[in-house]
């Protein structure tokens, strides 16, 4: 609740009230003042009418198609609302009631439609946002399915190369390489497994993905680097978030031919 204002303060607010910019918390005071004070009342009457005319400055031509469309819809509703002017007779009364009710229903329906339209636009906006989210999710799912399909093909292909390592197998096919590790023990608290790759001709390993053992028992790790360019692959236990260079002895180092 705002502090009570003196007459000078209230007079200052009459113009703002006429324009419609007084905060709700002060409207009651100002309205009461206008009703009680003749000077304030006169100023309000004059400035309110003037403020109302501000809207005229926004008048502008409407696209003819839009104007025609709006008019067509409006006039159809209005004409449906008009009761025929024929004299009533006893036998026609019920029929007229039916017409009137139908016309009234048409107007109500039109009004409800317009009101609902506002809500529908908001709903449409929300729906579009949901569609965008679902589309993103669908794209991710499609990529995941494509990756799964490619992995399945690579892992089962007869031309894949398989290297037995501690806890499982390294599978290489073309440019793709995977770690297929079973019974991998959980790393110590705060630690993860990290893969390392050694590029052909390189003298130091480069960090690759980090991972944790799958609860299903088989941990499948696709390595993002191009297998065609790799000389070796290794796995070590590293702090969460991974390391830039191995900090522990590797669980295995596997040369790739």
């Amino acid at each position: 609740m705002s502090e009570p204002l003196d007459r000078g303060g209230l007079i200052d607010l009459v113009a703002a009230y006429a324009l419609g910019v007084v905060p709700a918390s002060e409207c009651g005071q100002v309205a009461a003042f206008i009703l009680a004070d003749a000077d304030a009342r006169r100023e309000y009457d004059e400035l309110r009418a003037t403020a109302n005319l501000l809207g005229l400055s926004a008048e502008e031509p409407v696209d003819s198609n839009r104007a025609a469309r709006m008019k067509e819809r409006l006039m159809a509703t209005v004409r449906a609302d008009v009761v025929p002017r024929a004299p009533l007779s006893a036998t026609r009364t019920s029929a007229m009631w039916g017409t009137t009710l139908a016309a009234a229903a048409a107007v109500v329906f039109a009004l409800v439609s317009v009101i609902q339209n506002f809500g529908l636009r908001s709903d449409l906006h929300d729906a579009q946002a949901r569609v965008a989210t679902l589309q993103t999710r669908l794209d991710i799912d499609r990529r995941t399915v494509a990756l799964d399909r490619r992995m399945l093909t690579d892992l089962t292909a007869s031309d894949s190369k398989r290297y037995t390592v501690a806890y499982g197998t390294v599978v290489k096919r073309g440019a793709n390489v995977y770690l297929v590790l079973g019974s991998l023990p959980p790393p110590p608290h705060g630690k993860v497994y990290q893969a390392w790759t050694l590029a052909r001709g390189a003298t130091t390993v480069a960090p690759s993905v980090t991972f944790s053992p799958s609860q299903s028992g088989i941990t499948l790790v696709p390595i993002p680097q191009d297998a065609g360019n790799l000389a070796a692959i290794a796995v070590s236990v590293e702090p969460e978030g991974g390391s830039r260079q191995p900090t522990t002895k590797p669980a295995f180092v596997q040369p790739l031919s």
């Binding site: 009703l35 400035l47 400055s57 409407v62 509703t77 339209n117």
Partner: protein, 177 residues
């Protein structure tokens, strides 16, 4: 040309032709205000439809005075309501409940048109015109106007008051010419 107040009398008598003329005369005003406030043509079209349907179903809502001014205020308030509801914003301004005595203005401003209003507005200083236009078309409080413009609240109140008085004088001069 038959003015809006006369046309509304005929609309009260369920005169479809009068309503059609009312639409032809004032749809640019209603659509223009809604578009200026909402900056969304589809929403402005919805507001225009709802305003004219309301004129048809509740013509008694207009009592007397300058019809274009009354229609401007109704359109402004309706559009702000819709914009706020879409933005889930609470209403920060309560439209004035005190009914204005419009008998004088019905005579003085009966034939005012958009061009004259634009001319009178452009005659105001930028300092006076800005808070007045922000208040009417953005539907914000004088405190918010002060915050957005960086001008003290007391100065904003004074500029609104002197600006509206100057606007009234300029409109009266334009009509008397």
């Amino acid at each position: 040309m038959e003015d809006g107040a006369r046309l509304m009398e005929r609309v009260r008598a369920r005169d479809v032709d009068a309503f059609e003329r009312l639409y032809d005369t004032y749809h640019r005003l209603v659509f223009g205000i809604a578009l200026r406030i909402a900056a969304d043509a589809a929403l402005a079209e919805d507001v225009t439809q709802s305003i004219f349907l309301k004129l048809w179903t509740s013509p008694e809502a207009f009592r007397e005075g300058n019809f274009a001014g009354w229609l401007s205020r109704v359109t402004r308030n309706r559009t702000l309501d819709v914009v706020r509801s879409r933005a889930n914003r609470s209403t920060t301004e309560i439209p004035a409940d005190v009914p204005a005595d419009a008998s004088t203005d019905a005579t003085v401003f009966a034939n005012i048109d958009a061009q004259r209003v634009r001319g009178a507005l452009s005659a105001l200083s930028e300092e006076q015109r800005t808070p007045i236009e922000m208040g009417f078309f953005a539907g914000i409080t004088h405190e918010e106007i002060a915050q957005r413009t960086g001008v003290p609240l007391g100065t904003i109140k004074t500029r609104i008051r002197t600006g509206l008085r100057r606007l009234r004088e300029a409109l009266s001069e334009a009509i008397s010419r």
